[in-house]
C-alpha cells in the first residue's frame, strides 16, 4: 500500500511538472504580449497590463500580420485538401487493385519523407524562379502537398486496408466505376481518417518554415511563421511586447484547432506511427 501512495504522489507531481513544462512558454508569451513594459522582470519596471501592443501591430500598415495569417491559412487548407485527396486516390488503388509497383509506391514515399528539406529547397528555388512562381501561393502549395503525401498515404492506407473488399465488389457488380466507389462508399466511411489526415497536413503546412523562408519575399505570399520569425516589433528599444503580441495572434488558429480537434489529431498521429 505504501507503494501505491508513493506512486500516486509521483504521478501527481509528474502531471504538475508536465503541465508546467508544456504551458509555461505559452503563458509567458501571453503575459508579455499584454505588458506595457516587457522587461518587467527587472525589479525597476512594474508589470502593467495593456492591450496596446495588439492594437499597434494590428493597425500598423507596415506590419502585415493578418495578411501573413491569411496566406498561411489558405495555403495550408489547399495543400491539406489536395494532399489528402491525392493520397486517398493512391491508397484506394493500392488496397483494392493489383498492379506492379503496388508496394513500391508506399515504400518509396516513406523514404521520401526522410529527405531533408534543405536538399530540396535549393533547386526548388531555381524551379520556382523559372516558373515565375516565387512569392506566389503556388510556390508553397505544391511543395506542401508533396511533403504531406507520405503521411497522408500511410494513414489512408491503414484506414482503407481495414475496409472489406466486399464493399467494392457489391458496387462493382452494380456497374459503378472505381472512382465512384471511392467517392461514395469508401471515403464516407473513412471520413474520420481523412479528417485526421487533413488536420495533420494542415498543421505541418502551417508550421513549415524553410520553404516559406526561401520561396516567398513579402506579404503577398509570405506565411506567418516566417513573418513572426523576422518580426522585429514596433517602436522603442525593447519591442518584445509587440513581438509576443504578434506571436499570440499567430498561435491562436493552432490553439483553437487543437482544442476542438485533438481527438482526430492524436488518432492521426498514432495511426501514422503505430500502424505505419
Amino acid at each position: 500500500m505504501r507503494e501505491t501512495t508513493v506512486i500516486k504522489l509521483l504521478k501527481f507531481s509528474g502531471i504538475v511538472f508536465l503541465l508546467i513544462f508544456c504551458l509555461t512558454p505559452f503563458v509567458w508569451m501571453l503575459l508579455v504580449s499584454l505588458s506595457k513594459h516587457p522587461d518587467f522582470l527587472l525589479s525597476q519596471t512594474p508589470l502593467e497590463l495593456t492591450l496596446n501592443n495588439y492594437i499597434q501591430i494590428l493597425t500598423s500598415s507596415s506590419v502585415h500580420l493578418l495578411t501573413y495569417l491569411r496566406n498561411s491559412i489558405i495555403i495550408s487548407l489547399t495543400a491539406a485538401f489536395f494532399s489528402t485527396f491525392l493520397a486517398s486516390l493512391s491508397a484506394y488503388a493500392i488496397t483494392r487493385l493489383t498492379f506492379p509497383g503496388r508496394v513500391v509506391i508506399p515504400v518509396v514515399l516513406l523514404a521520401v519523407s526522410m529527405f531533408p528539406q534543405i536538399s530540396i529547397v535549393g533547386y526548388l528555388f531555381k524551379l520556382m524562379t523559372w516558373l515565375g512562381w516565387i512569392n506566389t501561393y503556388y510556390a508553397l502549395i505544391f511543395p506542401y502537398i508533396t511533403l504531406g503525401l507520405p503521411l497522408a498515404l500511410w494513414i489512408m492506407l491503414s484506414y482503407f486496408s481495414r475496409l472489406s473488399k466486399e464493399l467494392d465488389k457489391a458496387a462493382l457488380i452494380d456497374g459503378a466505376n472505381r472512382f465512384q466507389i471511392l467517392q461514395k462508399i469508401i471515403l464516407p466511411i473513412s471520413l474520420p481518417g481523412a479528417f485526421s489526415t487533413f488536420m495533420l497536413i494542415f498543421i505541418y503546412s502551417f508550421n513549415e518554415f524553410l520553404f516559406a523562408l526561401m520561396l516567398t519575399i513579402d506579404y503577398k505570399a509570405r506565411t506567418i511563421p516566417v513573418g513572426i520569425a523576422l518580426f522585429e516589433g514596433l517602436h522603442g528599444q525593447i519591442p518584445w511586447g509587440y513581438i509576443m503580441a504578434g506571436a499570440v495572434v499567430a498561435t491562436i488558429p493552432m490553439v483553437l484547432l487543437i482544442t476542438f480537434f485533438q481527438k482526430y489529431i492524436i488518432q492521426g498521429l498514432t495511426e501514422g506511427a503505430i500502424k505505419g
Binding site: E3, G14, I15, L18, F21, C22, P25, F26, W28, M29, P38, D39, L41, L42, L86, L89, S90, L97, T98, F99, P100, I105, L109, V112, F115, P116, I118, S119, I120, V121, G122, Y123, L124, P143, I145, T146, L149, F179, I203, N207, F209, L210, M214, P225, I228, A229, I243, M244, A247, A250, M254, I258, T259, Q262, I265, I266, L269, T270, A273, I274
Partner: protein, 297 residues
C-alpha cells in the same frame, strides 16, 4: 506476396495508374527533380557573380577542408544524440503518467499538443525572450534562487547556446514522442500487469520486464523518425541563435542554407547533398538494426 505469379487485369492496371498518376507526378516534380537538381548543381561552380562552370568534386573538396563544416557536423551529431535521448526519456515518463485515468484528460491532451502544434519559428521567439540576458525568465530564476549572482549568457556562449537549443527542442518534440509511446502503451494488455502484480513484482520490475520490451517496436519507429527529423533541424536554430556564437551552433542544414543565400549555390548544394547522405545513412542503420522489415506490410 504473390504479385509475380498473378496475371494482371489490364483494366485494373489502367485504373491503378490513373489513380496513382497525380501523386507520382507531383512527387516527381517537386521532390525527386529538386533532389537530383541539387545533386547536379553541387558539381558546378554556381555563383551569382561568376559564369557557371562544371567543376566536378571541387565543392566537396572545399567542404572537407572547411573546419566550419566539420564544426557543423559535430554540432549536428551531438545535438541529435542528446536531444533525441532526452525526448525519449521524457516521452516515456510522460506517457506512463498519461496512461492512467486522470480527470481532465482532454485538457491534458490539449496541453501536451500545444508545444508540438505551434510553429517552431514562433515558439523559438518566445524561447528567445525566455533566454534573454537582462529580463528573461531563466535568468530571473537564476538570480532569484541564488544559483548564481551573475546572469547567465544563455545565447551568447557556446555551451549556453547548445543547451538552450536542446531545451527548446526537447520541449517541442517530447509531446510528439509521448503521444506515440502512449499509443504503444495502450496496446499492452492490462492482464499482463495484473498477473505480474499477483506474482509480486514491483513497479520498476514490471516496467523493465513487461513495458519496455513490448514497447520496443514503437520506440524504434519513433526513434527513427525523430532522429531523421533532428538531423534536419533548421527553424529553431535560425531564430534562436542564428548559428552563433561564432558558428558554434550551426547545424548542417543552416550551414548549407547560409551558402545558398549568400550567392554560392554550388557549394550550398554540395552541403545539402551531405545532409541527404547523412539522413540516408542513418535510415539504413536503423533499418538494419531495428528489424524494420517486419513493420513494413
Amino acid at each position: 506476396m504473390q504479385l509475380n505469379k498473378i496475371e494482371f487485369n489490364k483494366k485494373e492496371i489502367r485504373d491503378a495508374y490513373l489513380f496513382n498518376a497525380p501523386l507520382i507526378l507531383i512527387a516527381l516534380i517537386f521532390i525527386f527533380l529538386p533532389v537530383i537538381g541539387t545533386l547536379i548543381t553541387s558539381f558546378f561552380r554556381d555563383v551569382t557573380f561568376l559564369p557557371g562552370k562544371f567543376i566536378g568534386l571541387e565543392n566537396y573538396k572545399r567542404l572537407i577542408g572547411d573546419s566550419h563544416f566539420w564544426q557543423s557536423v559535430e554540432f549536428t551529431l551531438i545535438f541529435v544524440i542528446v536531444s533525441v535521448s532526452l525526448e525519449l526519456f521524457f516521452g516515456v515518463i510522460f506517457a506512463l503518467l498519461l496512461n492512467e485515468t486522470i480527470p481532465g484528460r482532454g485538457f491534458m491532451r490539449v496541453a501536451i499538443l500545444i508545444p508540438w502544434a505551434i510553429p517552431v519559428a514562433i515558439s523559438a521567439r518566445v524561447w528567445q525572450l525566455i533566454y534573454n540576458y537582462d529580463f528573461g525568465v531563466f535568468n530571473y530564476f537564476v538570480l532569484k534562487l541564488g544559483i548564481s549572482n551573475q546572469p547567465v549568457s544563455w545565447l551568447g556562449t557556446t555551451a549556453g547556446a547548445f543547451f538552450s537549443i536542446v531545451i527548446s527542442d526537447v520541449w517541442k518534440t517530447t509531446p510528439f514522442m509521448t503521444i506515440i509511446i502512449l499509443a504503444g502503451l495502450s496496446t499492452i494488455s492490462n492482464d499482463l500487469y495484473k498477473q505480474a502484480m499477483i506474482d509480486g513484482t514491483n513497479f520498476l520490475q514490471r516496467f523493465f520486464r513487461i513495458t519496455l520490451p513490448l514497447l520496443k517496436p514503437v520506440l524504434v519507429v519513433a526513434l527513427l523518425f525523430r532522429t531523421i527529423d533532428a538531423i534536419r533541424i533548421f527553424d529553431l536554430v535560425y531564430v534562436l541563435t542564428g548559428g552563433g556564437p561564432g558558428g558554434s551552433t550551426t547545424p548542417l542544414s543552416l550551414y548549407a542554407y547560409d551558402y545558398l543565400v549568400s550567392g554560392d549555390f554550388g557549394y550550398g548544394s554540395a552541403a545539402s547533398v551531405i545532409v541527404f547522405l547523412l539522413a540516408a545513412l542513418l535510415a539504413i542503420l536503423y533499418i538494419k538494426f531495428g528489424q524494420f522489415k517486419e513493420v513494413v506490410k
